[in-house]
Amino acid sequence: MKKQFRIFALTLAVVVLAASFAGCGSSASSAASASTPAASSSAQGGKITIFQQKSEIYDQLVALAADYEKETGVQVEVWPIAGDDYYQNLKTYMSSESGPTVFSLNSKSEINEMSGYLADLSGLPVMSKIQDTLKGATNEGTVIGVPYTAEGFGIVYNESLVKPADIDTTDKLVSFIGKSGDVTSFQLSQEDYFLIGHILNFPFAVQKDPVAFCQQVYKGEVKLADVSAFQDLAKIFDAIRQKEQSPVEVSYDDNCGNFATGKTASIHQGNWCYSLFKDYNVTFDMGITGVPVDGNTAVAVGVPSYWCVNGDASAEEQQLGKDFINWLYTSETGTHYLMDEFGFLPVVNGMKSTTLDPISQSIADSIASGNILPWTFNEEWPANIISNYLAPVAQEFFTTNMTQQEFLDKLNEAFVTAANE
């Protein structure tokens, strides 16, 4: 028994090392010739890999990949990922020359950081057709990203429980909060972006020149506590803290579930959450309106992500990637997927979606009428400030007796610190 075990273990050990490396020998040959794993060309048309952050469209992307291969003979491999780990994985892949062909980036700071790895996309035919309000991302003048879609957020409300006219000023909203008894009036949720990240965008975005305003805050020339829009926001937060369940205790799922089942009259969300509502039996009409700081009623609209091509990949691979993106936005199959399967709002001139859910439709209408606010948080705030600084302040606000003044001061401090790091 002992002898058998020993011989077994030994043989296995010897065979193993040989086998595991030999078994991967087929990919070793292609590794020696290319810096990215996807550059090996298959018999027909080559191969690209896609790695992007929206896990909600993963299934549809996989179906799209199959259709793309049928139409063009190019193989498309879609890499799965847990949403939160996306950027650190992307960074690690890029730094070890294992990056995907096509990937997504979310913000100016990510684009800046990845600038060495981005291919120039200005030559793409689709670029000239993109709506002006949602132009492609640029890095030092070169166009390097194609917008996914337009998304908007604000107060998503249940029309049978509250009308926008009831909450179109801060005072009205504050008195509405806590009024409805059994039904929660207005609810945030505990995740960083939904606790403070998105909603804090509003007081910045309503300023006359948000970009300049941000710079003034970072330099200490302006204090948030002195600005009316921010004071309004602090009032709203205080009302929530006093009269509603602490948002720190509410998860995104519960937040959406409460709304869909009529337990909450309004939530701070965006058009992306509609797909969650489909899982419940929603019986009411819903709409979206802006957070009423300084009497605002416009929703905040921006581009959540951009498609980018790996500038570190081989020339052929880059071209395949560019072709794919162009196809996605101009071909019949591609646009069908974009609009009907992914549920994206069209970004290309002339494209009109007929399958938009009510909230997305509302956002599209706002874009058309120009009644929108920018996504200052995405474009102007220091990198990762939301999870590193703002969320802890908001959590502290909801779990302690912090005053409104202290709240605004701490937020101010966060911006100054983060901007000057």
Binding site: G116, V248, S387, V393
Partner: protein, 289 residues
Amino acid sequence: MKIKKKWFALFTVPLISVFFAVVILPFISGVLYSFVKWDGLPKNPKQFVGFENYLKVFTDSRFLASLLRTSLFTIISMLIINVLALAFALFVTSRLRARNLSRAMLFMPYLIGGLLLGYIWQFILGDGMKAIGVLTGREDLFFYWLSDSRFAFIGMIVVTTWQMAGYIMIIYIAGLQTISDDVLEAARIDGAGFWNMLFRVKLPLLMPSITISLFLTLSNCFKIYDVNLSLTGGGPANATEMVTMNIFAEIFSKSNYGYGQAKAIVFFVIVAVITMLQVKLTSNKEVEA
């Protein structure tokens, strides 16, 4: 016993060389990178800053706070886990009928890794605790634990203990089983009762297991990350941010690769000194067969 050099090499070189390539070389890279300011991407510039990163570490209050917090967490968890694991091991190697089933059940938590675990416990320690509070009326003890900094910390200890107790238990089981029956028989004949058996006979002979278990709990608790991330995310307001999370955020969220590495090195040195002391202390009490 005299060992020829060639045997020494044959037996140790394979493992040591793989170990060197996989663990040591990247670690050395990390040390080198701790002297630069860099965001981690090869195409972006590295700026040499000498010891600046290290000086920054000692004035970084958030890091120092997380270091203290992690130490406290580790000490408490270590104690609870080891006591519980030993108790479990004793039960499970006794003559109680339920032992086989229990051994498997106690060990199960360790089999569940990763992301989902934290979310489940988030529900238990959040909504779950709240529901118990409403049921029992003791709302001072049972509320949404995760929104209170002290209880969130306790929550971390609970989950870590839950996960690790079964794992350390099997180390104690293996240890208990190496104690020969003769010794136990002899002690019983001498009239030793349960507690005497435990403290005078079993524990000294268990010293190697204790060394190992203390070391494993020490190292796992200091390095804790997954549970930290999925259970509390470091909150509320960074009240439960442990060291690895702080370092990871520095490297990836703040793109401060060099500074993050400096923190990692400082952390490593501190933990290494502590654990080497611990191993030396308990090793000296071991009895070679």
